[in-house]
């Protein structure tokens, strides 16, 4: 089992190291441009904040062809960076290993968990390899609550532009909070700290041949920690800036993967989330500060157009997934002029809960169901952007808080749909025919 995950060469390297107090994992795939900076930041962070601990940086690579692995090995910390630390620096070991198994971030994490387990590490962290805003302090913030405060899981808390993280803000955060009762603001942040105990718990789960190995490992880690009774906290990391993404990356596929993972985990943890009511705050470590965030240009009209086309063409699909009243309200919304376009929070929450129930009852093929959510999601984003155009960050956060409370209050509706009959009322009610809305003049 051990050899299957790590491979003989890596296993020998790990066994030679014998023990480590801290393991920091950096999963990568063709990140040569940014990974050097990430590894340097992690190394400085480890030397500066944990000088007495034996630490290992693990690069779990998915077969990069752009020299990512070389970049990791060649990344050197220049002395000039370290004026503040002791001149006698403890060495930070580096391991570069290709991961085995299904290609994906989950498999990369699995190799990191296994190495942490073999080295009997007390505290571990994982950070994305495409980060441009990572600083050595991130390492401290992700590891210190584990080592000194007895936490098992540290979720990141970022400062983000009000239009960034819309899937997180409108679906993943409110859903996770309403379902599992703890307010983890960035459940799919990508940069986490976790105890060695939790790493072993992750490894013991029978998910490594499923979609968790491909994608969705972030939400899986957070949800597993929440449902497993582990102590969870958050650390304020400041702004999160990535390397520019491929412009052709498919929003629909991304939405399908993230929302599918959330819904899939609902199936796994039904016994946990159904009896829970309300939610509670969890501690946030770190010094909070404000940073200037780059403006995010948004094409509002295009989003509304996408929603309208969905309404025009996907009515038949939505009728199978949504409640009749929800379909009716969406139709009304489609007829509104662009300037008055507004999707009420209540409607959005019902859409998400109806989709969750449709996923559970397999009313439509999962991929079709989740992809058909994209136009409604675009409508929701358009509405959110229009509503918060003049709002400051605090006001936007208050609006997200309102949405979260609505998710929590509407949970009985979700449970009713989840436990209810397999047939959707929209299908039964023949009278609800989706009227093709004519786009009104803006």
């Amino acid at each position: 089992m051990l050899k299957e995950i790590l491979g003989p060469e890596t296993l020998t390297q790990v066994q030679d190291l014998k023990h480590a107090d801290i393991v920091v994992g950096v999963p990568s795939f063709n990140n040569a441009r940014t990974i050097r900076h990430v590894v340097q930041a992690v190394e400085i962070g480890l030397q500066k904040y944990f000088p007495s601990s034996r630490a290992v940086i693990v690069n779990s690579d998915g077969g990069s062809t752009d020299g990512t692995q070389d970049a990791v090995l060649r990344a050197r910390v220049e002395e000039g960076h370290l004026l503040m630390v002791s001149p006698e620096l403890p060495p930070v070991h580096r391991l570069v290993t290709p991961y085995h198994g299904i290609p994906g971030k989950g498999s990369a994490f699995r190799a990191i968990f296994r190495i942490a387990e073999v080295l009997e590490a007390k505290a571990c962290a994982v950070v994305d390899s495409d980060l441009r805003s990572i600083t050595p302090e991130w390492v401290e913030l992700l590891l210190r609550p584990l080592i000194y405060a007895g936490y098992d899981y540290v979720a990141p808390y970022y400062l983000r532009h009000k239009y960034d993280g819309t899937i997180t803000n409108s679906i993943v955060y409110p859903m996770t909070r309403a379902l599992y009762g703890q307010r983890v603001r960035q459940p799919i942040g990508g940069d986490f700290g976790f105890s060695g105990r939790l790493a072993s718990h992750y490894l013991a789960q029978d998910v490594w041949e499923t979609d968790v190995a491909r994608y969705g490992v972030d939400i899986w880690m957070t949800t597993t920690a929440l449902c497993g009774g582990f102590r969870v906290c958050q650390s304020f990391l400041g702004a999160k800036i990535h390397d520019a993404k491929d412009p052709g990356s498919d929003l629909s596929a991304m939405l399908t993967q993230v929302v599918g993972s959330v819904f899939g985990l609902m199936e796994t943890h039904t016994d946990v989330w159904i009896p829970l009511e309300g939610s509670r705050d969890i501690p946030v470590f770190g010094f909070r500060f404000d940073v200037g965030l780059e403006p995010v240009p948004v094409n509002l009209e295009r989003m509304i157009q996408h929603f309208r086309q969905g309404l025009q063409d996907l009515g038949e699909v939505w009728e199978q997934a949504l409640h009749a009243d929800t379909v009716r309200e969406l139709c009304r919304l489609g007829q509104a002029p662009s300037a008055e376009f507004h999707m009420p929070d209540e409607l959005w929450v019902r859409v998400v809960y109806d989709f969750a129930a449709a996923f559970h009852w397999r009313r439509i093929h999962h991929d079709h169901l989740l992809r058909s959510l994209t136009p409604i999601y675009m409508g929701r984003v358009a509405s959110f952007v229009a509503d918060t155009r003049e709002s400051l960050a605090g006001e936007v956060e208050a609006k997200i808080e309102e949405l979260c409370l609505l998710y929590e209050q509407s949970k009985p509706y979700l449970i009713e749909q989840w436990k209810g009959v397999a047939e959707t009322p929209a299908v039964q009610e023949a009278a609800v025919a989706v009227q093709v809305p004519r786009p009104s003049a803006a």
């Binding site: 996408h306 086309q309 063409d313 439509i364 994209t374």
Partner: protein
């Protein structure tokens, strides 16, 4: 002369009566078989309908319910029950015809039983083709909407028709009914469609295609702009 004519008619009637008398037991047997077959088929249909809740729940769990419902007009279990009725009744009908013990009847029954495996295969091909066409068309429709393609419905319809035509060709192949003619028609239709599209793009609809490409470029441009927005 008249007496001879009367004699012939009498003989004919007599022959007919003898034949009817000879056929009557077989006819009665046929009616009995049909009645028994009808009763058994009805019973099986009734039992399957009673079990429909479990079957429908299974179909829902496997995600094929909505596809089946659309064509069955009352749920997957209804479709199965109705199919079972007609299958049993059809068998009874063939047995009944065989019981008549006529040359035509025997030939018909033998032919039907020899043809039966082909009929079943054709039925399976048709059902699979229907479901596959619907599935692929829906996938295409959703993809096209998310890609901002204006004629998403037409595209999805094209996929459904294409799969439908392929299904018909495959079914004809199985049944060995006008195989060459149907295959030739399919190839001509396909080539014609491709040629028509090529001509339309090249000549008549060049402006429209240009317009569409411009719109698409604008859409992708918008997408790139939107990419600045981190959704996760």
């Amino acid at each position: 002369m008249l007496e001879l004519l009367a004699q012939i008619v009498r003989d004919s009637w007599l022959k007919l009566a003898v034949q009817i008398a000879r056929l009557l037991p077989n006819l009665l047997a046929m009616l009995l078989i049909l009645a028994a077959g009808g009763i058994v088929a009805g019973l099986v249909q009734w039992m399957l309908r009673r079990m429909s809740v479990r079957l429908d729940s299974w179909l829902h769990r496997w995600g094929v319910a909505t596809m089946v419902d659309r064509y069955s007009g009352g749920g997957g279990a209804q479709l199965v029950a109705r199919s079972a009725f007609w299958l049993i009744f059809g068998c009874a009908l063939l047995m009944g015809i065989n019981a008549l013990n006529t040359e035509i009847g025997t030939r018909l029954v033998t032919g039907a039983f020899l043809y039966f495996p082909r009929l079943v295969t054709t039925g399976v091909v048709m059902i699979v083709g229907l479901l596959l066409g619907r599935f692929l068309a829906r996938g295409t429709l959703i993809w096209a909407v998310n890609e901002g393609i204006g004629f998403a419905r037409t595209l999805a319809g094209g996929v459904r028709v294409g799969v439908g035509l392929l299904t018909v060709v495959a079914a004809a192949e199985q049944l060995e009914v006008a195989r060459t003619a149907i295959l030739a028609a399919f190839v001509i239709l396909l080539s014609g469609t491709v040629l028509a599209i090529a001509l339309a793009v090249g000549l008549g609809s060049r402006k429209r295609v240009e317009q569409w490409l411009d719109q698409r470029a604008a859409f992708l441009g918008g997408d790139r702009e939107l990419e600045r927005m981190e959704h996760l």
